[in-house]
Amino acid sequence: MPSLFEHLWSHWPYVIYILLMVIGLFAVLAKGNLVKKIIGLNLLQTAVFLFYISIGKVDGGTVPVYWDERPDAVYENPLPHVLMLTAIVVGVSITAVALAFVVRIKEAYKTVDEGEILALDEADRGAPEAELPRADAPEPEGGV
């Protein structure tokens, strides 16, 4: 029976994935700055990439390209890598949409701090809807 330390040491990629995930979650929950929250979200997603890639590791495995000189070669599992290509694209899209939101929030609220935004919303509470500050961004000249 290996000790807990040895167990963790032999599974170090998982330890790093969990650490990264927790740091990311902490940033999302505890940071007030909207951009920092997005960074936290990215950390969380990166942790998942790392997790997937480490489950694709095969001991002594090589690049998963057929090698006719060595028919007995052991290959890494390429499937998790392929899945992560998709997940990376998804992650980039989410970051892009989130940053677009932050730009528009900055225009509408003049701040990117969660506390200040909530205070502004609280001040608007009970105001008739038509008089609430609009979300529409000023439309650029000759835009799409």
Binding site: L25, V28, L34, K37, L41, L44, Q45, V48, F51, Y52, I55, L79, P80, L83, T86, A87, V90, S93, I94, V97, A98, F101, V102, R104, I105, A108, Y109, I117, D121, D124, P128, E129, A130, L132, P133, R134, A135, D136, E139, G143, V144
Partner: protein
């Protein structure tokens, strides 16, 4: 063409959505027609598949291997009765919303943003259709993200700046949920080594000792928490009220009537068709009890929170929290009646909540506000809309002869069957709270003092009235006939409950 329907029902809306921004450069009026056409086709596809399945023995599935790559190598679309029901719900609500939204969009979205709105809306519907139809867990994640990202954008397109913040908050919370689901898929793959749902189920059936693996249990935990965030299961419903109330009316109509229920469907699929019913019954009885407690808490707390809301859309959002509780209760009761009740509630809640959000949308369209007290006296000026609200409200309470009654009846019967009598009083209390907030609306609409000046000056335009009437008629139709119950019971039986 019939053999290609599973693929076409998803691919046609997807391609049309991508064409909309292009076509809109030449013809601004085309976008709406394209949305209606694509969703009309999706309705045809979903209904044709469901009818086809209803004519065949229980347990039949329509399978479609993408690009003829047979599963488990390729990605397979699988339609059985359960997701036939869900697909019909998404496509039908999507089409009704599309028909309803034209005027509402004109008043709420700037002209420049409209083609983008239509394209995003159609993509969102495609994402949910894909989530329902796919038979591959990773493909499920991809469609989930398509549906999620587009809903963040739809919500953020509301008129006030609060919509931006609501969209952003939903994005953060929703992405955490989606990442958890991705981790669930990863842990499952790590232990089982395949992503095809039927294949995973087979391996679980062949090796029951896999149920004891801590990796499999971790996977189920990630799935449960991730999906609970996505479906706004109490106490993870925090994102829902501001998202629904700040979104444009047309977006909140579609998202409220379908989105959270698709995630609930995924939970059905994961519990029964991936892990297998035995997993919850024998391997994790305490987790089953835990989910049961959360579902019952949602049923109790949702309507209770709704009573004191001032904004109509917010009120409806809190009532959705309770309604998701009903659907989740259906899963964890794990018997025929309970499941039937949960499954018919997909349609019943979509009809009732859709109709109520139509009314909220008309309120915003006619008055510019969504306060509950703006409804005062609407019965005199807008009798049709008020009648829709009353019928849908009665269905939410669960009055006999409306659809909601059947859901509650079967869930109650399921609870008794499972020997959990204590759930029945909670269901009754929930109906009582629902009656309290629905009655508040009904009283404002029909029994306002004679001297109140109604804020709603006119009846809704026909383009908004007819879709709302169709939804209200559905509430009555499902309540008076046994069509939906028969289909739902067969769907529940085809899930395979395992040993009772």
């Amino acid at each position: 063409m019939a053999g290609q329907l599973p693929a076409l029902a998803v691919v046609v809306p997807l391609l049309v959505a991508l064409l909309i921004p292009l076509v809109s450069r030449f013809n601004r009026r085309a976008a709406w027609w394209m949305v209606v056409g694509a969703l009309g086709f999706a309705v045809y596809g979903a209904v044709a598949m469901l009818l086809d399945l209803c004519g065949s023995p229980i347990g039949t599935t329509i399978e479609y291997a993408m690009g003829r790559w047979a599963a488990p190598t390729g990605i397979e679309y699988v339609v059985d009765r359960l997701n036939g029901i869900v697909l019909t719900m998404i496509a039908a609500v999507g089409l009704i919303t599309a028909l309803w939204m034209r005027k509402s969009i004109r008043s709420e979205i700037s002209e420049k943003a409209r083609p983008g709105y239509y394209a995003t809306f159609l993509l969102c519907a495609t994402g949910y259709m894909g989530m329902a139809i796919t038979g591959d867990v990773f493909n499920l994640y991809v469609f989930l993200e398509i549906a999620s990202i587009t809903s963040y954008v739809l919500i953020g397109m509301g008129r006030t700046r609060q919509a931006l913040y609501a969209g952003y908050s939903y994005l953060i919370v929703g992405s955490i949920g989606a990442t958890f689901i991705l981790l669930g898929i990863g842990h499952l793959y790590m232990e089982i080594g395949t992503l095809e749902m039927a294949d995973i189920a087979q391996r679980f059936a062949a090796n029951p000792e896999l149920y004891d693996s801590s990796v499999v249990r971790t996977s189920f935990a990630f799935f449960t928490v991730g999906l609970a965030i996505k479906m706004a299961l109490f106490p993870l419903h925090g994102w829902q009220p501001s998202a629904y109330s700040r979104a444009p009316s047309a977006a909140s109509l579609f998202i409220a009537a379908t989105a959270t229920k698709v995630s609930a469907y995924v939970f059905y699929r994961i519990s029964f068709s991936v892990f297998g019913a035995d997993f919850l019954i024998s391997a994790l009885p305490h987790i089953r009890d835990g989910i049961l407690i959360l579902a019952v808490a949602a049923i109790f707390v949702g309507p209770l929170l709704a009573i004191r809301q001032r904004c109509l859309k917010r009120l409806l959002a809190y009532s959705s929290v309770g309604q998701i509780g009903y659907i989740m209760l259906g899963v964890v009761l794990l018997n025929e009646d309970g499941l039937t009740g949960g499954v018919i509630h997909f349609w019943n809640h979509a009809a009732a909540k859709g109709a109520l959000f139509c009314v909220a949308g008309v309120l915003v369209y006619r008055t510019g506000v969504s306060r509950v007290d703006a409804l005062a006296g609407m019965g005199r000026t807008a009798p049709w809309t008020s009648a829709v609200m009353t019928v849908a409200g009665l269905s939410m309470i669960g009055v006999p002869m409306t659809a909601g009654f059947l859901s509650k009846w079967y869930l109650g019967a399921g609870a008794l069957d499972a020997g959990r009598i204590s759930i029945v009083p909670v269901l009754m209390a929930s109906s009582l709270f629902t009656a309290m907030y629905v009655w508040r609306l009904v009283q404002l609409v029909w029994f306002a003092p004679k001297d109140t000046e109604p804020l709603v000056k006119e009846e809704a335009p026909w383009s908004m009235r007819i879709p709302a009437l169709v939804l209200a008629a559905a509430c009555l139709y499902f309540g008076l006939t046994s069509t939906s119950v028969d289909i739902a019971r067969d769907a529940a039986l085809s899930l395979g409950l395992g040993a009772p």
